[in-house]
Amino acid sequence: MSIRFLFMVGVWLSCIGYSRADTPNHYAHHRAASLEPVKGTVVGPDGTPISGATVKSLSTKKTTTTNEKGEFTLPAADGEKLMITVVGYSDQEVTVSGTSLRVTMAIGNSQLGEVVVVGYGSRTKADVTGALTQLKADNIRQGVTISADNMLQGKVSGVRIMQSSGEPGAGVDVFIRGVGSIRSGSTPLFVVDGVPLSNDNVSASSPDLGLGSTDAKNPLNFLNTSDIETITVLKDASAAAIYGARGSNGVVLITTKHGKKGDPSLSYDTYVGTSRVIKKMDILSASEYRKAIQSPAFDHGGNTDWQDAIFRNGFIQNHNLSFSKNTATGSFTASLSRLDQNGIIKKSDFNRTTARLNAEESFFDNKRLVVKMNLTASNIDETGIPNGNTAGSDGQFMMYALMANPTRTIFDSAHNYTNFKMIQLFNPLYVLSVYDDRTNTFRVLGNVEASLRLLPGLNYRFNLGLDKTTSERNTTMYPNVTDRTPQGAYVQNDLKSLTTLLEHYLTYNLSIQQHQVDLLGGFSYQKFNFAGTAFGMQNIAAQNTGVPPMYNPGYSGTPTSPSGYAQENELQSYFGRVNYSYDNRFLFTASLRADGSTRFGANNKYGYFPSFAAGWNLTHESFIKNIPAIRNLKLRASWGQTGNQEVPNKITQASYTLSAASGYYLDGTNLVNGVTVNRTANPDLKWELVEQYNIGVDFELFRNKLYGSLEYYDKTTKDPILNIPSEPLSPTSTVWKNVAGQIVNKGFEFTLGSQLINTKDLSWTVDVNGSTLKNTLKGLPISQLFSGSISGPGLSGVNANIYTNGYAAGSFFILKHLGYDKQGKDIFEDKNKDGIINADDREIFSGAIPKFNFGFNSQLRYKTLDLGVSLIGQTGGYLFNNTALELGINNLAADRNVLKKFVDANANPGNQVTVSSLYREKSDFLRLANLRLGNTFSFRQLPWMQSFTLYVSAQNLFTITNYSGYDPLVNTTKNVSGNQSLGIDYATYPAAKTFLLGATIKF
């Protein structure tokens, strides 16, 4: 019976396939005789042939589709109008003239037929009920983007991307719909080709050799952005709840490119470019400094712009070669890339080599079994500079350069680096010369997916993934004349990370008349192993004598005590989803995920995360259908719960370790190790719960003259996990706990686009997106939590951020600066009117989260020329400019440089360093994020070359802002006891502006 059944199914399917493939041609052939057939080619804006485009004569209604070379043949008379439509491009009307046509299609911004990637599957845009945005990576031409998260900048409403530093490959803070957690951990879940990535760092951490430790690099650096096909941001709970306990910060789904239909393709992309600092800080020049100082002793006779001294024009080159092929049963794509980027500060380099292979093949009758493999390997070599954010009483590299007296010289008369002979302020170039920091990170991400059709409509899918990283960092500070590790030290930090994934799921599709049901049910198991070691040497041999310790640590010096850690955690999940649509008008989605995590306490191992959504496609209602202006109109509403499990491992379990550090010399000479209690156990610990409502509307009006989406959401974090003071006589002074209290994020998001012009020769598309955000903390049982540790002398333990009820996360708690008196002395508001200005006079200021973020994108094409413009901006936010604080007027009296604006304001050098609203600045800005001009050449005489595109582009060309720091779009991670800081700008590696010349050649 079953053989017969399968046979029947096979026959049935092949019939469908046959008829689908041939019908149009039959149709065409029968009626073609009377007219001269028109031949034509349909290509994309870059000249690539488009297959599968529908070509329809508007007068005769004759229809055909293009073949793999983009060619079509249709009987049509001169002057007849043809309509060409294809998914992903704007419809195009052309008039027949002659017998040969070349039709260039413009990319369409919104197409109902567009396939959108969702968790564990895909849907057409028309069927989507949740709030999500999908970007096609090819449409994002951003210039140098090392990592995928940067590509979202300004493209998706409700998503805010902030650099933690401008260093090549530096970490990025991604906030989707506000700040949902007080702890560090607002990073969304990234899923690459179906493999959810761990949010742990994958590059070895930096040791602190007296200059602070630097931030971790972006874990997404391993993925070559040219390999990315789509990036989908799941914003609301309905879309994200299928990822359960990891969905609350939003989910970003990334798919990599697979072979496209058509001939085998070979393409080569390259660009070369140069970058330099986005702007310089306005500090005093040598002559200005001479005028400003009261004591001639601070004039050292030189004339140095220390910013120029450390900055350079960074050279960038990128090469990317890919080839792919698509056959009737499968496809493959392979790519190789190499990126070399010199940072804009001397000695900071980033070099990446990636290789990727995606293959897919079908087996058995009618592609019953489809096996896919995705494999990415990347090797990153980086060199870093000693610029951490953990500075205490002194700066780090950037601050050394900014603070250095401009009347000093770089070199002394003996051609050695000038020794400033100061404590905590050194010649930055000297520091750079004795510091050597190299990191190698090798990461492989691979997965195998198999899909087996059990029955028509019923598929079993299997996904096995592996994500392995090893990273080694060799940091050396050679013996030097500073008081930072003066006798030299070497540290090697190693990191190993391994994530394995196993998933099984079943999907079932059923269509009966107007009812369409999609079911998904599955199981997922993911295990994360994370381990590292560190060892080092101190009192090492001087630089350029003997062997550098990274090659042979044993060559000189004495070993320091090694250390290490190894942790593992597991996540076991069950999930299910139902999509139901009636008559394409009413859409319903419900999903449930049960997530079990080892991170949670014995009493709360599993969390359950439901979601519901409904959509109403008004377009298909009779009262809308006949309104020609409305091509699409859909209302959506959703509710759901997601979780956040990004807490440290082991925090539910108490641990007692024996450690020498807490020991004592009981007999006066021999150290007896002491019992250290590392944590107070909390077996009740569970995930943070985020509940979210979303209502939205999607529309396409006036033949693409206006399309877009509007969304309103209310996202509330409940049971936030905090590291708070523990009850008296607990083994440790703090404990990780879910506390009562809520973090509410509410906002309105819009995306509006318009295809202003769309003709054969000229097309112009613009879109704007924007989002508002209101964040409030409510019901916290603790009166206040501090974060945003301020760096600089005399500022230890001083925090700028406060988390307290009734205010937004990222509020500042600082003195109010009212101006200067006649002597230039600071005047602060005496809030409690006790005649004394002290910590009791601090006030809460609205802070770090901008009220409005927006992006503007324009694509203009004239014949073969294309011009792209992207603007981004924000308003209504503030930064605490810690850099300005460290460059305060006080420096004039301390042989250090100062921000010009304080001198211009006649501030008194006797003013003490005080954290106040003087350093709170508006972070409003408008930035030309990207400008690109390209031309696509086609060489008819070179048939082997499909297209050749040449472009120039500029990134961050200008920024309009009143912010006095390097970059208003910055967030220095300076958490305090795990509570994240927001809106602190501590002299990080500044952002760059970049100019590129690039070419794309397709064969």
Binding site: L671, V675, S726, I782, D840
Partner: protein, 583 residues
């Protein structure tokens, strides 16, 4: 059942089987549970907490006991030591419940209590042959930490160590002091004497117990009635055998009369980095410079200027100093051996620090290294300072290889001479804020020797918790409070005359006083006990705590204790906030 259902069943089965992990978290880089800890380990951490910042870091107990008094101040010096005003608040009497030094001190003392309780449980359930003594030590440490918590905060948490999951209780100073006294007295028989059972001065011995009891009795009246205008020091003792002051005399006399301890003729030897052999030390926190324990160099590092460099890789930090009021108490007493002491190098060179120095030999080397060691003088550093300057990674040398001595300038105000003026001239007399060009001000007490082997942070110096000099101070005070001025004067004069000056001044002993009264005695305890966390309690007992002083207005009695930290008030409903502080 058809094959279709069978297939689906198979797949479902696979999926079910796959879901088999129990999700029990495996901890592979730590040993969980306390079973591996021996009683010694538990006791070591209870002791270790004394060193873990609590009594050795300037920003914990030291800050609350010293910076709040008319002896010590940590002003803001230009760009340094603003730190959100936490240090100044303590001296200006504007501290609140969110002052991080108050919070850290409270947390440290609480952790000491917790670790002592853990040690008590661990020792109680063990079969250690020396169980009785170890248990007594753990209990004594509990009492020690609790005593300091009651002294500073008026309240302390407690849990009966014998009760499983016992409720946390609050002990209040007024009643708690008596329980502590009774408990420590009951522990004496089980405690070792110094030297017995491998115990040294770093352990809580019978002698430490006597000293602690003397301290507790001396302050009992204050604990009993914290906000009183005057204290009743002659209340009957806990055991009704004499008065509090009798007990102070009795316990201090046990130590003074035991013959085990002897006043150092070189007063500063008590605070040398090789003071482990000190004859005067009764109970210390044992420190080693080459260790992973805290072993802090803080008390020496804090008063030293940044351009004062005990070795080419070490420096001071230009922070705390004494107040003009305290300096004035030394008027006509600058020849007191405790005021200053010059250092003499091996070749006979004295470091004069008065502008006459040319060089000192470079033969003294930092322990375990080839770095030259410049020895600064000890005691009060007043006026223009001199010392070595760096040239590359070494000191500047004279042609004959000796360390060149220069007139020093402040590091962060390179044009400002390093002149440690007794006066503190603040622009705003209510705020201890110096501009960058005023950072030189203030007399610096170099009571503790700077350990150049510790890279500014660690030291070999054992930190005295109790020493014989302090016992004389306490006994003299008890005598005087009983009206026995002769005996009080004798004790104070013994302290004065037992110390001798350096050979430069012909080893002259200090001069005796001819009479004594309360204000004199208060100053005398200052000469002996400055920079040793003694001042606040003394100041409260002597009634000087509320008086106005440098940057300090007349204060209210509620400031005699600190507030319970806001973080603790948030975490628990256990404590009631102390009077006068925002509830």
């Amino acid at each position: 059942m058809n094959k279709k259902s069978f297939k689906i069943a198979c797949v479902l089965l696979i999926m079910t089987i796959a879901g088999c992990t129990k999700l029990k978290e495996k901890v592979i880089d730590e040993v969980l549970g306390s079973s591996s800890a021996s009683p010694q380990n538990a006791l070591a951490s209870a002791y270790g907490q004394m060193d873990n910042g609590t009594f050795v870091n300037h920003a914990q107990v030291f800050a609350l006991q010293e910076y709040s008094t008319n002896e010590a101040i940590l002003p803001t010096r230009g760009s340094d030591w603003g730190d959100g005003g936490i240090y100044r608040a303590i001296h200006e009497f504007t501290w609140g419940a969110d002052n991080s030094m108050i919070t850290n001190t409270w947390n440290s003392l609480n952790l000491g209590i917790t670790e002592s309780l853990t040690a008590i449980s661990s020792i109680t359930s063990s079969n250690d042959p020396n169980k009785a003594q170890l248990l007594a030590e753990a209990k004594a440490l509990l009492d020690l930490y609790t005593f300091h918590a009651l002294d500073l905060f008026g309240q302390a948490p407690y849990r009966d160590p014998s009760a499983v999951n016992g409720q946390v209780q609050v002990r209040k100073a007024a009643t708690g002091i008596d329980s502590l006294i009774k408990d420590v007295e009951s522990l004496i028989p089980a405690l070792a004497s110094i030297g017995q059972n491998n115990t040294g001065k770093g352990r809580f011995t019978k002698q430490a117990a006597y000293a602690l009891l003397a301290d507790m009795y001396l302050n009992r009246a204050v604990f009993k009635d914290r906000y009183a205008a005057t204290f009743n020091f002659n209340e009957a003792a806990v055991d009704n055998n004499g008065t509090d002051m009798d007990k102070v005399i009795s316990y201090t006399s046990q130590l003074i009369g035991s013959g085990q301890f002897k006043l150092e003729s070189n007063f500063f030897h008590n605070f040398d980095i090789d003071n482990a052999n000190g004859t005067e030390l009764i109970f210390v926190i044992t420190q080693y410079v080459n260790t992973v324990t805290n072993s802090s160099n803080n008390f020496a590092y804090m008063p030293m200027e940044r351009n004062q460099k005990p070795s080419p890789v070490d420096r001071g930090t230009n922070a705390s100093c004494i107040t003009p009021e305290f300096y004035a108490t030394w008027d006509n007493n600058h020849d007191d051996p405790r005021f200053q002491r010059h250092y003499q190098y091996a070749d006979g060179t004295w470091f004069m620090n008065d502008g006459t120095d040319v060089s000192v030999p470079a033969t003294s080397l930092v322990a375990g290294s080839t770095l030259p060691w410049f020895h600064f003088n000890r005691g009060m550093q007043v006026g223009q300072q001199y010392g070595p300057s760096l040239s590359g990674t070494d000191y500047q040398r004279t042609p004959d290889g000796r360390i060149k001595v220069n007139k020093l300038y402040c590091e962060k105000a390179p044009t400002q001479l390093m002149d440690f003026t007794p006066a503190l001239n603040f622009d705003d007399p209510n705020q201890g804020v110096f501009t960058q060009l005023e950072i030189n001000q203030g007399v610096r007490p170099f009571k503790y020797e700077f350990d150049p082997a510790g890279l500014n942070s660690r030291s070999n110096c054992d930190i005295p918790m109790y020493r014989l000099g302090g016992m004389y101070c306490m006994r003299a005070e008890a005598y005087l409070r009983k009206g026995m001025a002769t005996e009080a004067l004798a004790d104070i004069n013994l302290l004065r005359t037992s110390r001798t000056r350096e050979a430069l001044y012909a080893n002259a002993p200090g001069k005796a006083l001819t009479s004594i009264d309360m204000p004199t005695l208060y100053n005398e305890t200052g000469f002996e006990m400055y920079w040793e966390m003694y001042r606040r309690k003394a100041s409260i007992r002597f009634g000087t705590f509320e008086a106005a002083g440098t940057t300090k207005p007349v204060s209210q009695p509620f400031r005699r204790i600190y507030p319970i930290p806001q973080s603790t008030m948030d975490a628990s409903k256990l404590f009631q906030q102390n009077d006068g502080y925002t509830k």
